[in-house]
């Protein structure tokens, strides 16, 4: 039992943070938002190049042979910069392909292709630019190329992760098992939760920086107790979210009995914490936080997107209710 990063994990965290801080700048993210793709192509190439996309894949198919903890570290760093990359769904898809031993398809993805994942009743993130589509069907997944699906997209609130409605219109290239579907969900939940953790932490850090500088009523507004206490409350949420994300990642890596509970907890708690922190970020920035020009709204919109991607917080809590033995909902 040692609930802290190993030296290697700390190094990965540092590398990932440096990469995203250096590349996922506000300017580049906004360019990816403006062109409708939600993908910073150069950043995506960097992620593939450093092995971050396939961090959790075995070495023989070109992966980095690491686990969910490392995947969470990378997703957290991406979330901290609201990076515009199709990372989460691509990594979730890889887990599904790996579960069913589809090395051929894994290699396509690790070669730079974008995969997306549409769970039942949900939209596909980065569906408009995806090359490979994994669609939940009959308790498993079907895998389709772009020419076999109909993609309907509009304007998405979070422009760093455009959503699309995808429908299978032609023959799939593969069918994956229920086990693969589970693997996709598990990776997806951890990645979203880690993205949310990183985003929430960025909301706190940037707001702390702002209130330390901003003068009003003849003083630094960071000296007002109402502001201090709201920031403190953000930290209380974030530290819990951090425990949740890495508990879930460890539980999956170690095959722990409470892994399902951990996954639902992490997804629900971290996404809600992000929404709380992003809302507070706007409030504590005052008028400027509400403008397009300021980055606060990127976090706010991504927080909302994290909340609904791969199941809402309420759905994950209901799953927990069943796991802990509350029985069925009364008619």
């Amino acid at each position: 039992m040692r609930f802290a990063f190993t030296d290697e994990q700390a190094m990965i965290a540092e590398t990932a943070t440096d990469l995203f801080v250096g590349e996922a700048t506000s300017e580049r993210t906004r360019a990816a938002m403006a062109d409708g793709s939600g993908r910073d192509v150069a950043l995506w190439d960097s992620l593939s190049g450093t092995g971050f996309v396939g961090v959790h894949m075995p070495g023989d198919v070109g992966g980095s042979e690491l686990g969910m903890v490392e995947l969470a570290i990378i997703a957290e760093a991406a979330g901290r910069q609201v990076a515009a990359v199709p990372l989460i769904a691509t990594q979730a898809a890889l887990s599904a392909l790996h579960a069913d031993g589809r090395a051929d398809l894994i290699e396509r993805v690790l070669g730079g292709q974008v995969a997306t994942l549409a769970l039942a009743g949900g939209l596909a993130p980065h569906g408009t630019i995806a090359d490979l589509f994994l669609i939940e069907q009959d308790g498993g997944l079907v895998v389709a190329d772009r020419d076999a699906v109909d993609v309907v997209a509009g304007t998405t609130m979070d422009q760093t992760r455009p959503l699309a409605q995808v429908t299978l219109t032609w023959a799939p290239i593969a069918t994956l098992s229920a086990k693969a579907l589970d693997a996709a969900k598990h990776t997806g939940w951890i990645a979203v939760a880690a993205d949310a953790l990183g985003g929430a932490q960025a909301c706190l850090d940037r707001t702390v920086e702002y209130v330390k500088e901003r003068q009003q009523f003849g003083q630094t507004i960071g000296g007002f107790q109402a502001i201090k206490h709201r920031l403190a409350d953000m930290m209380v949420e974030i530290e819990q979210a951090r425990s949740a994300v890495y508990w879930a990642a460890c539980a999956v890596d170690e095959g722990a009995e409470d892994a399902e509970l951990a996954l639902h907890s992490a997804k629900a708690f971290a996404a809600d914490a992000y929404a709380t922190c992003a809302g507070a970020m706007i409030q504590l920035h005052g008028g400027i936080g509400f403008t397009w020009e300021h980055d606060a709204h990127l976090f706010f919109k991504r927080a909302q997107a994290d909340r609904t991607l791969f199941g809402s917080s309420a759905q994950h809590r209901e799953a927990i209710a069943q796991i802990i033995g509350l029985g069925a909902i009364a008619a």
């Binding site: 939209l123 959503l163 009003q216 009523f217 409030q283 008028g287 919109k301």
Partner: protein, 394 residues
């Protein structure tokens, strides 16, 4: 204590409703149901004039300035019927509800004669120049300055969040006229025409993708020396009095807009089945309660105000509606689910009413005095708690 209306009042309701329905299904059918503050500004300016032509533009004002000396009950009824008929947001809201009553209270007879009829008849649309960059809710931190030069005031500085300034004819400005002064002293309340070289308006794009707010720059802008409300250096008092009028009858009109938003949400919940979810039902019921209580809170404020007094509910009104609306936006996204994050707009960043509300309502707890400022006001003015301590400025 009585909530109902008399027969005479109900007759007035019929008169107002009949006129409004005719107007909004006839010559102004195109602006019926408009909810955006920035949509169709020219037609809404014509609508102001059309209302005025039949003396419906400012019924609570004295008849000599274009009003009807309407009773409180009549004003309440008109606000309800206006909303029920689908009337669009009033382009001259600030003129009729805020600066008009302030001129009535603080203006000279000449100022009243000059400004009030033009507001009443829709010739002058007004906007507000209070906030500045670096001094959002801190009116005492105003740095825009003005000084006398010949027969004019000359104004230099910058205002921000000047809502709808791009459509306006006049702006009321708080400026520092005593260069030695600090805080709330030494400010003056000036009335400034927008149509001059010294005034420039620049849009601020909001997180919704729209531009309702602006930055307004004053670069040696001028206004006649007579266009000051109150004495030089007494602008703070006038500015505060104006804010008091924000809790007038127009709050009822605002609430009818909220009613429409909640109705949209209920319809969405019924359409996608979430209306059957007990968790959602609890939250919608709570929103319904909150909306109703806003109405009755407003009636308490208005009754007290008609009696020449005030009611403690007035202190709490801003934070109440701001929180209610922000919660409604969050509930809307819970009801809509992921589908609410995607719109059928292509290329353009535009959402339908409920997702738009989710984004827009983040501003509700900020503009017009943040929630934090509102809580300070309640604590200090209504509850008599000590004023804020100050840490040293850096």
């Amino acid at each position: 204590m009585k909530l109902g209306f008399t027969e005479a009042e109900e007759a007035f309701r019929v008169e107002a409703a009949t006129w409004l329905t005719a107007a909004l299904s006839g010559p102004f059918a195109d602006v019926r149901g408009v909810t955006s503050l920035v949509e169709m500004p020219e037609r809404r300016r014509e609508w102001e004039k059309y209302l005025a032509a039949s003396r419906w533009s400012c019924i609570g004002w004295p008849a000599q300035y274009g009003g009807r000396d309407a009773t409180l009950a009549q004003q309440v009824i008109f606000a309800e019927e206006y909303a029920r008929a689908g009337g669009p947001p009033r382009l001259n809201h600030l003129g009729i509800e805020l600066i008009g009553p302030t001129i009535l209270a603080y203006g000279s007879d000449e100022q009243k004669a000059r400004f009030l009829p033009a507001i009443a008849n829709g010739d002058h649309i007004w906007c507000q120049g209070y906030s500045e960059p670096g001094a959002g809710s801190d009116l005492g931190g105003v740095r825009t300055k003005a000084w006398r030069e010949g027969g004019d005031w000359v104004i230099e500085g910058q205002k921000v969040w000047t809502s709808l300034a791009q459509f306006c004819d006049w702006i009321f400005v708080i400026a520092r006229t005593d260069p030695e002064s600090v805080g709330s002293k030494g400010l003056s309340f000036l009335l400034v025409p927008m149509d001059q070289d010294g005034v420039t308006v620049r849009n601020i794009v909001q997180m919704t993708g729209e531009s309702e707010f602006n930055e307004t720059f004053f670069d040696a802008a001028r206004t006649d020396a007579a266009n000051i409300l109150g004495e030089p250096g007494q602008g703070w008092g006038v500015a505060m009095a104006l804010l008091g009028f924000e809790r007038g009858v127009s709050t009822l009109g605002q609430q009818m807009g909220f009613r429409n938003e909640l109705d949209d949400l209920i319809e969405a919940a019924r359409a996608n089945g979430s209306a059957g979810d007990p968790v959602i039902r609890q939250k919608i019921a709570q929103a319904e309660i909150g909306l109703r209580l806003m109405r009755y809170g407003a009636l308490r404020m208005l009754t007290a105000s008609a009696d020449g007094g005030s009611n403690p509910a007035a202190f709490t009104y801003k934070i109440q509606w701001a929180n209610w609306r922000q919660s409604l936006g969050e509930l809307a996204m819970e009801v809509l689910g992921q589908a609410g994050e995607i719109s059928d707009a292509h290329g353009e960043y535009a959402f339908s009413r409920l997702p738009h509300l989710f984004l827009y309502s983040r501003a509700d707890t900020i503009y017009g005095g943040t929630n934090e400022i509102q809580r300070n006001i309640i604590a200090e003015r209504a509850l008599g708690l000590p004023r804020e301590a100050r840490t040293r400025a850096k």
